[in-house]
Amino acid sequence: MIAANPVTGLQRPPAPPRRWTNTRIFGHVLMALWILSGASLVYYLGSNVASPFVLKYWPNYLSGFIVTLQIVSVSLLLGALLSLPIAAARASKWKIFSAPAYAYVYFFRGTPLLAQTFLIYYGAGSFRPELEAVGLWGFFQEAWYCVIFAFSMNTAAYQAEILRGAIQNVPKGQWEGAAALGISKPVAFFKIILPQALMVALRPYGNEIILMIKGSAIASIVTIYDLMGETRRAYSRSYDFQAYIWAAVTYLMIVEILRRVWDKFEARLTRHLKR
């Protein structure tokens, strides 16, 4: 029903029919393809819910899922702790602090996570006598600890950059204002600068969590049975391609749910900035 204009009493003409342009046809074809593949995926998974493969391997997938969550959360937390001194050193005026921190960040951001993991996991073997002397050999012998170590070092470099960028993003006037009010520097940092910086850092932190979840699949290459590791084991035993499809659906769901929750979280925390 088209509402009449209250002043003139004239009816607004109906919108012209949307024409079937080439773009529209193409868009519908693509959407049809997506819907078709989505529906066949759902049908395929649905018909396989009670298949021998799923019945046999679902406990493995569950434990793999938990291992993945453990790797990601432990590495992210350790990385966050490690990133604080690195970010502080990186922003320092003194070259003796900032240069090594820069080198650390450059190394871990410039090389693949896979190579770093290999460097720590296999490379520790080169220092076996030394490590045995200090009693750390047991630590580096375990793939689990090596992976946590490598991932924490890696994410610490990324998180240090996020933190540094966010802190430098806070306008200088905030520091000056705090100084004018007679607030000491440490208090100004923790009560005024850091809260504003963390606001800006929310989005990159969310991206870093997602990158870490995706990156944690690399742990499967060094014999860790995370979600990816269990998937590879299931596939090598059964030669059933649904092993990978179940993993893909799980990973996609983890990442999508996390992204949406994080968006909500961010919107909630920054609601005072919205106009």
């Binding site: 529209r24 868009g27 896979l114 290999f118 296999y122 590879r232 990978y244 893909a248």
Partner: protein, 237 residues
């Protein structure tokens, strides 16, 4: 020290030539992926900024899927999926053989999918930086839509998208290391072989890391040059 140099020398004694071959494979995989990823990413960005909702949705689903999957899993999906797909297809026409997909091609396809979904976002935000007046100006001059795009928009778009695309290139360079898992003889795999044979894992994986760093440095200098080149018109203003 001398021993280490012998191990790294070229020829029968050392592993220098093996690792050099690995570097070549890594670099060529990244370079071979780049054009496909860029073109696909550009087309997806066009779809995302179109006014047609169905096209936009289709493009967004693509990005969501390939940005959400771990790169390693995408690689396995392509590698085993294509292999099984071809085998099933051949079975239908009555041929039963074992097909093995080339790991270089599988890596190229998987990395292109991932790269294009990220590149589309880079292009999309660059599109947002171009004012509407540029399209209208092109139209007013009597340029066709294709001409407006290629002569007016694209040159500015590249300049705006270049920093983000440069980052994606550096990420791509690192992601090629994953293809070593499906058997491509790239830098990581070759250094792994060298590490196992010589029992010097720390040295060889350390060298692999350093080579990745050098590649990143070379890329950064190259990218800075391209960036200067795209901004050559701005100095006159």
């Amino acid at each position: 020290m001398n021993e280490a140099l012998t191990l790294l020398s070229f020829g029968d004694q050392g592993w220098g030539d093996t690792i050099a071959l690995g570097v070549l494979v890594t670099v060529s995989l990244a370079i071979a992926t780049l054009p496909f990823g860029l073109v696909l990413g550009f087309l997806i960005a066009l779809a995302k900024k179109s006014s047609e909702p169905s096209l936009k949705l289709a493009a967004n689903i693509y990005t969501t899927v390939f940005r959400g999957l771990p790169e390693l899993l995408t690689l396995f999906l392509v590698y085993f999926g294509v292999q099984i797909g071809i085998q099933q297809g051949l079975k239908l026409i009555g041929v039963e053989t074992y097909v093995e997909v080339n790991s270089f091609v599988a890596g190229m396809v998987a990395l292109s999918l991932v790269f294009s979904s990220y590149a589309s976002e880079a292009f999309l935000s660059a599109f947002r930086g171009i004012p509407q007046g540029q399209y209208e100006g092109g139209h007013a001059l009597g340029l066709s839509r294709y001409q407006t795009m290629s002569l007016v928009i694209l040159p500015q778009l590249i300049r705006l998208a270049l920093p983000a695309l440069g980052n994606l290139w550096l990420i791509l360079l690192k992601e090629t290391s994953l293809v070593s898992v499906i058997g491509l003889a790239d830098l990581v795999r070759e250094s792994g072989i060298a590490a196992r044979v010589t029992k010097e894992p720390f040295m060889f994986f350390g060298i692999a890391c350093l080579i990745y760093l050098v590649l990143a440095m070379i890329s950064s200098t190259g990218l800075a040059r391209i960036e200067r080149w795209t901004k050559r018109g701005e100095g006159a203003r």
